[in-house]
């Protein structure tokens, strides 16, 4: 009984707590990274005052958000206005339930060591051998990719509801743009993922990474086009520059969160950055070999295996986030018609073509 409780409730709950805590910290420091990096791209310094080189700036910002007055506009739909940030934040965090941070046997040693203090050797071994307990992920479901796509789509609802409930022009326009953009890029994103799914033959993120391990190659090299499409559509999905039309400051003040302030604004903010991390993590798992080291097929790079898989995973996620911010510092914003044109006329057909060619090649040669 206690064994089942441990495997299916206590250990996953601990993992969830750790992931949520680390994720919140990561999001906070992602904002600092963004400000610093963009400052340096513009030959400025960025935040320097709070802590050494501004290292405590995220904490100061968070405190400021918490202490600000909680304003609900008089004509706003108070209930929807209040829950909209949560609707957009919860899916952003929920996706991390299936993100494989490490291999299925990642926590085996840790579990053996900690549990041996409380339990007898046989039970400890059984729990440590169980992949649900010892895996470097909260859960491994066989429809993980589908889960990610569907749950992250719920986040759009938060944006739309927030824009609608504000009862103000700019947020409504921002929300409309945002929904149009997210819906249209979601299609191309899905198609770019299908290419990988065809090659991997599985919807489970863990299995996709394991397949990359078996074939000794990252799927970027098998599906380069799909990766580029995935990344571009990921930019659009997370409302990042050059696709940040929903919150185009020069046109729409702040977009859907114009009327938001204080803590509720910070929830939207968290959700946006959490989505960035989500897209990067999913991209790493699908295309960049998850927890695998670079070039898994080259034997003479064996010393890279000494670094644990989690570090490789987080390193790759960091790299993608760096590119996210780097792009923001480089590119100007698209016009709305350009955005739609690229989405429907270029990315979608190319992604579909990629799927068809991949499927054809797989049928003909394998």
């Amino acid at each position: 009984m206690s064994e089942i409780l441990l495997i299916y409730a206590i250990i996953p709950l601990i993992k969830i707590a750790v992931i949520v805590l680390i994720l919140s910290g990561a999001i906070a420091y992602l904002t600092l990274l963004e400000r610093k990096l963009i400052a340096h791209i513009q030959v400025r310094l960025g935040p320097m005052r709070v802590g050494w080189h501004g290292l405590l700036q995220p904490i100061a910002d968070g405190l400021k958000f918490l202490l600000k007055e909680d304003i609900v506009p008089a004509k706003a739909d108070a209930f929807i206005f209040t829950i909209a940030p949560a609707i957009s934040l919860i899916p952003a965090f929920l996706v991390f339930a299936v993100v494989p941070f490490g291999p299925p046997e990642m926590l085996q040693e840790v579990l053996r060591w900690t549990l041996s203090w409380f339990l007898d050797a046989a039970t400890t071994e059984r729990i440590a051998q169980n992949a649900i307990a010892s895996g470097g992920y909260v859960t491994d479901i066989n429809i993980a990719v589908l889960f990610v796509l569907s749950v992250s789509s719920v986040g759009i609802l938060g944006v739309i509801l927030g824009g609608w409930a504000s009862n103000s022009k700019y947020p409504l326009l921002g929300a409309l743009r945002s929904s149009a953009q997210m819906v249209s890029y979601e299609v191309a994103l899905g198609f770019s993922i299908i290419g990988v799914l065809l090659v991997a033959g599985s919807l489970s993120l863990v299995e996709i990474v394991q397949n990359q391990q078996q074939e000794q190659i990252w799927y970027v090299f098998v599906q380069p086009l799909a990766f580029v499409l995935f990344f571009i559509c990921g930019l659009a999905e997370t409302n990042r520059l050059p696709f940040d039309l929903p919150e185009a400051e020069t046109e729409l003040v702040g977009g859907f969160h114009t009327e938001y302030s204080g803590f509720r604004f910070s929830l939207f903010f968290l959700a946006e950055y959490a989505n960035m991390i989500t897209v990067s993590a999913i991209g790493v798992a699908l295309f960049l070999g998850g927890w695998l080291r670079p070039f898994p097929s080259w034997e003479w790079l064996w010393f890279l295996d000494l670094i644990p898989g989690v570090v490789w995973f987080l390193g790759k996620v960091f790299l993608l986030l760096y590119v996210f911010i780097w792009l923001r510092g480089t590119l100007p914003r698209f016009r709305f018609d350009q955005l739609m044109q690229y989405g429907w006329k270029i990315f979608l057909p190319v992604a579909m073509g990629n799927v068809i060619v991949t499927a054809g090649v797989l049928l003909a040669f394998l």
Binding site: I41, V43, L45, R49, G329
Partner: protein, 154 residues
């Protein structure tokens, strides 16, 4: 055809990325002003100072009134008294209104003894107008930079 290939492989975007990457690790231009003093040009003219003879410690000013005459803003007032024994003019008071000064440097150019000099100090803000009129004591003390130290500005 070349144009098409350029667009397909994002050549221009990659060029832009390379450019911003180069800038990312360049030396920054930002001067952290209160912590880090800016480098001033050699000819920079700032707060005035009334020089004393470095050996005797007596004022170099001979109260000739030339600086007051040439000043376009008429902001210098030189007060003098004739010494009854040596029959020489002796400086009694000297005021310099920094609130009206345009730092043209004519006074320092015209001064025959290099008594009045515009230094490189620029931190001469004050809380009220009256304290912007510097008297002889303040002028002779000269470069009175208040260094708040590193912690003051944090």
């Amino acid at each position: 055809m070349m144009d098409f290939l350029r667009r397909i492989f994002f050549v221009d975007i990659l060029k832009g990325l390379a450019l911003t990457f180069r800038y990312t690790y360049r030396k920054v231009y930002t001067e952290q002003y209160p912590l880090e003093k800016p480098k001033l040009a050699e000819r920079y003219k700032g707060a005035p100072r009334l020089n004393n003879d470095p050996v005797t410690g007596e004022t170099l000013c001979i109260a000739c009134d030339l600086c007051a005459e040439i000043c376009p803003e008429d902001l210098i007032v030189v007060g003098s008294q004739r010494d009854p024994e040596s029959r020489k003019k002796v400086l009694t008071h000297y005021t310099f209104d920094t609130s009206r000064c345009l730092f043209c440097g004519l006074c320092q150019e015209v001064c025959p003894t290099n008594a009045i000099e515009l230094t490189q100090d620029f931190e001469i803000a004050a809380y009220d107008r009256r304290s912007m009129v510097w008297d002889r004591k303040r002028l002779e003390k000269g470069w009175d930079r208040i260094d708040f130290g590193k912690d003051y500005h944090r």
